[in-house]
């Protein structure tokens, strides 16, 4: 493994202190009935408990979400109260980049010496499909109810186009082949189901029992509901919504949360279930692609990041991305002349859904777990976000034997 300087020398992600809920699809689970901010706070507490991390270890909380939730004004301090741990923190939001931005922001907090143990907690409930009441001055109906979570996907105010149009435009620019896109989607499903069957995801995903107001069990969130096994013929038969884009080759809306900790080297040794494993922040960058070329943006971001840190794509042990459209991965592979079969080995948002805030947090956790299984190496996490944005980050996982 090449040696490069970390971007946050002081910050570490303690192995094994993380977890994610399953991501049930829109309106399919008990998550459709709860305040997602409260759910996320309580779920983080439960996950830390299962990981044997007393919540009193937490000094600061960075939360990330993109869809309005009840009492969102009260922000991270309120979510911390749902953990029953009165600490400060703030809310961070950048569409589907939120999960990775929050992790990097936590690294910066630790590296800058502001905090020693920062919790990253990202969550969203697309099931909210919020009926926001916004007295927009120029609205043709003042104080109208806007169901604009869905409209966000359908309309980029900067370009006037829908996200799906970006996917189609990207596919056209890179001359993507529908058969390859379908084949890739099929492979991604296969990767996910193999990871489920192997038990790999049990190290990441935590079943959570949801209560109603009377304290009775409303349901258990213990599956990525909404995922159906697909086959080549059914994918092939699907109607093309835009170039190379069908219902089978794009993601779906879902609900969920994901959390991890960022801390110092010393505290990571204390908190981790396997202190011999060290996880460092190597680098991170963002780019903005040309209008309506969002699927290209991740590749551009990765290129920029690799150039900046002095690594190549071949130096990466694990590649994992947020890929709302299968064409994202085809474009990435073409851009780097890379075999797309070698990435997203344990599943990806194309398959398990798209709750926005926590999406890239879960991607990161799965990627780090995969690197640990491989005995360490560089981990490349990347993805696209609304506004034709690409984000990419590299982590280094080192298995150095027992360092206690």
């Amino acid at each position: 493994m090449k040696d490069v300087a970390p971007m946050f020398p002081r910050a570490r992600i303690p192995y094994g202190t993380w977890g994610s809920s399953f991501f049930p699809a829109w309106q399919t689970s008990a998550l459709a009935e709860v305040n997602i901010g409260q759910f996320a706070g309580e779920a983080m507490n439960r996950i830390l408990g299962l990981r044997k991390i007393p919540k009193s270890e937490l000094e600061y909380l960075i939360i990330g979400s993109t869809i309005p939730w009840h009492w969102k004004f009260w922000n991270a301090p309120l979510v911390a109260s749902y953990l029953d741990h009165r600490i400060a923190g703030y809310h961070l939001e950048q569409a589907c980049a939120t999960g990775l931005q929050a992790i990097v922001a936590a690294g910066a907090e630790v590296d800058g010496g502001a905090q020693d143990v920062v919790g990253v907690l990202t969550f969203d409930r697309t099931s909210d499909s919020p009926a926001g009441v916004f007295p927009e001055r120029r609205s043709y109906e003042r104080t109208m109810v806007l169901s604009d979570v869905w409209d966000n996907f359908g309309f980029d105010p900067a370009t006037g186009k829908a996200m799906i149009a970006c996917a189609g435009q990207g596919a056209r620019k890179y001359h993507c082949d529908r058969r390859e896109v379908d084949e890739l989607a099929l492979h991604r499903y296969d990767q996910y189901f193999r990871a489920r069957a192997s038990g790999f995801l049990d190290r990441v995903l935590v079943p959570l029992e949801v209560l109603n107001i009377q304290g009775r069990v409303l349901g258990t969130v213990d599956d990525d509901l909404g995922i159906r096994k697909v086959d080549a013929a059914s994918l092939r038969a699907m109607f093309e919504l835009d170039t190379c884009v069908t219902a089978g080759t794009q993601t779906h809306a879902s609900d969920g949360m994901a959390t991890l900790l960022v801390t110092t080297r010393e505290r990571a040794v204390e908190l981790s279930t396997r202190p011999e494993i060290e996880i460092q922040f190597i680098g991170k960058t963002d780019v903005r692609a040309d209008p309506s070329l969002m699927p290209e943006a991740p590749a551009l971001a990765v290129k920029k990041l690799l150039d900046r840190v002095g690594l190549t794509i071949d130096d990466m042990a694990v590649l994992k991305n947020h890929n709302p459209f299968a064409v994202n991965d085809v474009i990435f592979a073409k851009y780097f002349d890379f075999d797309w079969r070698k990435m997203n080995n344990t599943g990806c948002p194309l398959v398990w859904g798209h709750p926005q805030g926590p999406t890239l947090t879960r991607v990161t956790i799965e990627a780090l777990e995969e690197a640990v299984d491989l005995g360490g190496g560089y981990v490349l996490v990347f993805g696209c976000a609304a506004g034709d944005v690409g984000i990419a980050a590299i982590f280094r996982v080192t298995d150095g034997g027992d360092r206690r």
């Binding site: 709860v34 309580e42 749902y82 009165r86 959570l208 209560l211 107001i213």
Partner: protein
């Protein structure tokens, strides 16, 4: 005279239960002790309660006011002029308990005076203060100055502090530390030089004084604050929310420590718990050290449970490993704290046990819990706790005390036996019957038999069992799921009850007032004679729960009653309504009267003297002619209708069966019904589900 272990009555300086029957009178008359404390009726002094508007002060103003007003003792409620009206807030409760007229009388007997904390109001002299119950804030120096002012002004005044933690040696006065809720809880932990005047006064007023040693904090506070502390440490280690820990603690032991704090009032309760643990930490070390969560809540007064709009959305369910961890964190420290209290000889073993049950919601007292575990397992629990909390291992741990676990003092926590060589007395020191009482009763009978005693009186202990409410329904929780457990309980308890009939030449049960219901009544009716004080009521409320009486209540009383009285027994069983004991003479009881009348009669029956009562024979063959129907008021619910039908079927079948086979019949009916849908949907089933299925 011999006894299995020291009678708890003796700790109050009131002799033994056997002596009560020998003398034919109670050890104290209330009028006499009131005269002794407050002076004769023509110059009666008053009871002053300082801090009377606080939670403790106001509650005790009501409790003592209602009991002392018939004797013309004025209650003086003393407090700062700006204290919120705590006494006035008690009035609705008083109204509910006593009705408008009596509540008015009690309130008009209370004189409220304000003072500035330094000078006593001049009107006080005219009220002749004879007894000061101090309930002012927990600041030692202020308390001491307060006593001095009273002593300077009223030399000879009796003073007791309700302090929540200071020892008498620090305060310089005796202690009468009451238990929450203060309006109704009868238990007071008392610290007096010898069995003293306060204990005797409280006992004569129908309260439950419990003498304890003069140490930092009280038995209740060690148990309750200790349990809270243990639960907090578990929370700190596991992140499990307080509300969820409460449910697991309730399933394991009975209390909801965090809910209790919120119910009492988190601001005050958090402070008192912190204060208690802080003092105990100073004295005994880290075992008691308040956690940062408690320190913070002491400062903020914040509730432990989430606000209503933030009711929890995520459940926590323990697997076996988590449950073991939970038990180590919670049981370990409580057992260790108990070892400390035993090492210091803080109180009679039955006192330590009863305080947990009567004041801290323990389903079984801590001594019974430890006895159930056994010495080795108890020690293992503490050692396992020490592996989690190493600082606790360094002090206040006395495993040697568990060597006493086989002693009668520990084995007979609820049931004692005394005898004078001829007559024995079995005393039941628990209001409700459970498997512990059953086992102890068997041992008491064995002991008397071994002592060659064949004449026995069975009664309460004249101390803790101020009433006998029947079976402890928490015993039935597992039987709701598994009828074989119900069958075993019913069969075993019935066999124990029959020993009172079969194994003594004469057995006489005595109901010492208030009430005797359900399983306790079934037990006592097995004696050859049943005598009751005339202020007692008796009843079989099982149908209202609903369950079927399981200790032979469906046939035993009919076998002893004249046929023409059978409808009255059926009324008792099928309506669940209690009746005054004096209405049951001849068909359920054999004699009812004042204590002056009944105590000598009981003694005469027991000793074979001339009591003039005809024994009611027990029909051992099958009975016929059980009424198929009787006039009953409408049932309260469909489940009560079902229970009536089931009880009637049990009555008919168990009565028609010869006595030798009747236990099996009744037990089968009882067990089957307990696992039925009607019982599961009733009070016991609902409680069992709430407490056990979490």
């Amino acid at each position: 005279m011999k006894s299995m272990r020291q009678p708890t009555l003796e700790t109050l300086g009131l002799g033994t239960v056997l002596e009560i029957f020998q003398r034919g009178k109670l050890p104290l008359e209330t009028g006499d002790i009131v005269d002794q404390v407050f002076g004769p009726s023509d110059s009666r002094g008053s009871l002053v309660i300082s801090g009377a508007n606080g939670i403790v002060g106001a509650g005790k103003t009501m409790q003592l006011g209602s009991r002392l007003s018939p004797f013309g003792v004025r209650i003086v409620g003393l407090d700062f002029p700006d204290a919120p009206d705590g006494i006035g807030r008690q009035y609705p409760g008083l109204l509910r308990a006593f009705g408008r007229e009596r509540a008015g009388q009690i309130m008009s007997n209370i004189i409220r005076l304000s003072y500035d904390g330094k000078n006593l109001p001049s009107e006080l002299k005219g009220l002749r203060p004879a007894f000061l119950l101090e309930a002012i804030p927990e600041i030692l120096e202020i308390k001491k100055k307060h006593y001095q002012v009273f002593r300077d002004t009223f030399p000879g005044i009796e003073i007791r502090s309700v302090t929540s933690g200071f020892p008498s040696s620090q305060l310089g006065v005796g202690i009468a530390h009451p238990s929450f809720p203060h309006e109704i809880n009868k238990v007071w932990e008392t610290v007096e030089q010898e069995p003293g005047i306060a204990g005797k006064l409280f006992w004569s007023l129908g309260l439950i004084p419990v003498p304890v040693s003069d140490d930092w904090s009280f038995v209740l506070d060690v148990l309750f604050c200790g349990l809270t502390s243990a639960a907090l440490r578990f929370h700190r280690a596991s992140n499990v929310p307080y509300w969820r820990i409460d449910k697991y603690v309730r399933r394991l032991l009975g209390p909801n420590p965090f809910r209790a704090h919120d119910a009492i009032g988190a601001k005050g309760a958090n402070f008192l718990t912190w204060s208690c643990l802080h003092d105990l930490t100073e004295k005994y070390g880290k075992l008691f050290e308040p956690t940062p969560e408690l320190v913070k809540r002491k400062e903020t007064g914040q509730n432990w449970y989430p606000l209503n709009h933030a009711r929890p959305v995520i459940n926590w369910r323990f697997d076996e490993e988590e449950n073991q961890l939970f038990e180590s964190w919670v049981l370990g420290p409580i057992i260790q704290m108990t070892s400390l209290m035993l090492h210091e000889s803080r109180a009679h073993f039955s006192h330590i046990n009863a305080i947990g049950e009567l004041c801290a919601q323990f389903r079984r007292g801590i001594m019974a819990v430890i006895r159930g575990l056994g010495a080795d397992e108890a020690i293992k629990k503490v050692e396992s706790y020490h592996r989690l909390h190493k600082d606790a291992a360094n002090a206040a741990w006395y495993p040697d005390v568990f060597a006493q676990i086989e002693s009668n003092a520990w084995q007979q926590l609820y049931v004692n036996a005394e005898h004078d060589g001829t007559v024995g007395v079995i005393t039941l020191g628990r209001e409700s019957y459970n498997s512990d009482v059953n086992a102890e009763l068997n041992r008491a009978i064995d002991w008397l038999k071994a002592e060659r005693i064949d004449r026995v009186i069975v009664t309460g202990d004249f101390h803790f069992s101020t009433q006998m409410v029947g079976a402890d329904t928490s015993e039935f929780y597992p039987a709701v799921e598994d009828p074989s457990i119900g069958l075993a309980i019913s069969t075993n308890w019935s066999k124990t009850a029959r020993r009172l009939y079969h194994e003594f030449k004469v057995s006489v049960a005595y109901i010492n007032g208030k009430r005797c219901l359900g399983g306790m009544l079934e037990l006592l009716m097995h004696c050859h004679y049943l005598v009751a004080a005339d202020d007692a009521t008796v009843g079989m409320p099982e149908v209202t729960l609903p369950v079927i009486p399981g200790m032979e209540g469906c046939h035993w009383p009919l076998r002893k009653a004249p046929r023409e009285n059978w409808p009255k027994i059926l009324q008792l069983l099928l309506t669940g309504r209690s009746v005054p004991a004096d209405k049951t003479v001849g068909w359920l009881t054999d004699f009812v009267g004042s204590s002056a009348e009944t105590l000598p009669v009981v003694w005469k029956i027991a000793t074979g003297g001339d009591h003039g009562l005809e024994p009611r024979p027990l029909a051992e063959g099958g009975l016929s002619g059980i009424p198929a129907e009787i006039n009953l008021p409408p049932a309260d619910s469909p489940s009560m209708t079902a229970a009536r039908k089931a009880i009637l079927a049990c009555i008919r079948e168990s009565c028609e069966t010869p006595l030798a086979d009747a236990i099996a019949v009744q037990a089968r009916h009882s067990a089957d019904f307990m696992s039925s849908r009607d019982c599961r949907k009733g009070m016991i089933g609902t409680e069992a589900n709430k407490v056990m299925n979490i």
